[in-house]
């Protein structure tokens, strides 16, 4: 177990991980980055709505819920996944770990929520598909291809940024005035360029965690309004 806030995942079989992303070093690092910022979240953000995009097994939101409960932070947890198998597993994870109030929706990123959640998201969590992939490789889900369920969790297109960029472009619209986003990035995603672009849109970016695992250099970025 990686932390005392780690959720119970006994309901998930090894074969489920053929279709759903298994919590890995990037998920754990994202959790560590959030835990490190608990005082900032508690005092500066005071979250009412926490949205995790692409929740997979639900690991991160579950962790955050346990961390928040201990710190007397209570909010509504919305999670989305484009993969229906992931959404189902995540919902079971939340039930098993008593995460409430929560909601799991099958959708592409935040399709369906956007207008009504304008400037309402206090905490946005995203471990995106960040692996650079060849233009010939599809990103997202192909309904006719079972393998795309898992590949949608990592295939990120050009510079691994195609999906991440869609979300970053919506940050100004989505985040509440005190809102903050925690996101996983890879060296190849060029975090310093991400930060520079966000600066011109009115955001500050801080690297809250950094770790080299095998041949991947992972970053956890905290993005908030200037």
């Amino acid at each position: 177990m990686f932390s005392r806030f780690s959720p119970i995942l006994n309901h998930i079989n090894q074969k489920d991980f053929q279709f759903v992303y298994e919590p890995s070093e990037d998920s754990f690092l994202l959790c560590e980055g959030i835990e490190k910022n608990i005082n900032f979240i508690k005092e500066e953000i005071k979250p009412t709505i926490c949205l995790e995009i692409g929740t997979g097994t639900g690991f991160v939101t579950c962790f955050v819920n346990k961390l928040f409960e201990e710190n007397k932070v209570s909010c509504f947890y919305i999670t989305t996944d484009i993969n229906h198998k992931a959404a189902k597993i995540a919902n079971e994870t939340f039930k098993l770990n008593c995460v409430e109030p929560k909601e799991t929706i099958i959708t592409d990123l935040i399709e369906g929520f956007e207008s009504r959640l304008k400037n309402s998201i206090d905490l946005l969590l995203f471990n995106p598909p960040y692996v650079p992939t060849d233009p010939s490789e599809k990103i997202g889900i192909d309904p006719l291809d079972q393998n795309s369920l898992l590949s949608s969790s990592w295939a990120g297109g050009k510079n691994g940024m195609e999906v991440t960029q869609i979300v970053l472009d919506k940050l100004d619209f989505l985040l509440s005035p005190n809102g903050c986003c925690f996101i996983v990035a890879l060296e190849e995603n060029q975090p310093e360029i991400i930060a520079k672009n966000l600066f011109f849109k009115g955001f500050r970016t801080a690297v809250v965690k950094k770790k080299e695992i095998e041949d991947e250099k992972l970053y956890i970025l905290k993005i908030y309004r200037k």
């Binding site: 009412t48 109030p101 909601e103 099958i106 929520f113």
Partner: protein
């Protein structure tokens, strides 16, 4: 799916007129009630984001309007009315639509709710 979420969802179908995107209609075939710990401040905070009329209509659509009686408007001094806050908490967070569908009021497109999870995915032809 909780009624708080219904209050936040809209149809993204390309052919839907903008004024018909929100709210989605509800056809619920299985609804359950389950305890969620009350957090008064959360309810007060979230009320600023809730479309009250849409919530009342949603309660009616799932057939709970006799079980949960809410006023037509949110009282100004809501903070002092613990009984009403409890009712709002119940309506927003404790009622779960387990099976059913959400219906786009502009196009009739149905979004399935299965095992408590709404599927809002559209195919590429339906997207804006």
């Amino acid at each position: 799916m909780k009624l708080i979420t219904h209050n936040m969802l809209e149809s993204r179908v390309k052919d839907c007129p903008d004024d018909k995107r929100f709210p989605l209609g509800i056809n619920a075939t299985k609804v359950i009630e389950q305890k969620v710990v009350l957090n008064k401040q959360f309810i007060i905070n979230i009320l600023t984001k809730i479309d009250w009329e849409v919530l009342l209509e949603a309660i009616k659509q799932i057939g709970y309007n006799e079980k949960i009686e809410l006023p037509l408007e949110i009282p100004v001094e809501i903070e002092k009315d613990d009984d009403l806050i409890m009712k709002i908490h119940h309506a927003l967070l404790e009622i779960e639509i387990i099976e059913g569908e959400l219906i786009c009021q502009g196009t009739g497109r149905k979004f399935t709710i299965k095992e408590g999870i709404a599927n809002m995915l559209l195919n590429s032809e339906e997207l804006k």
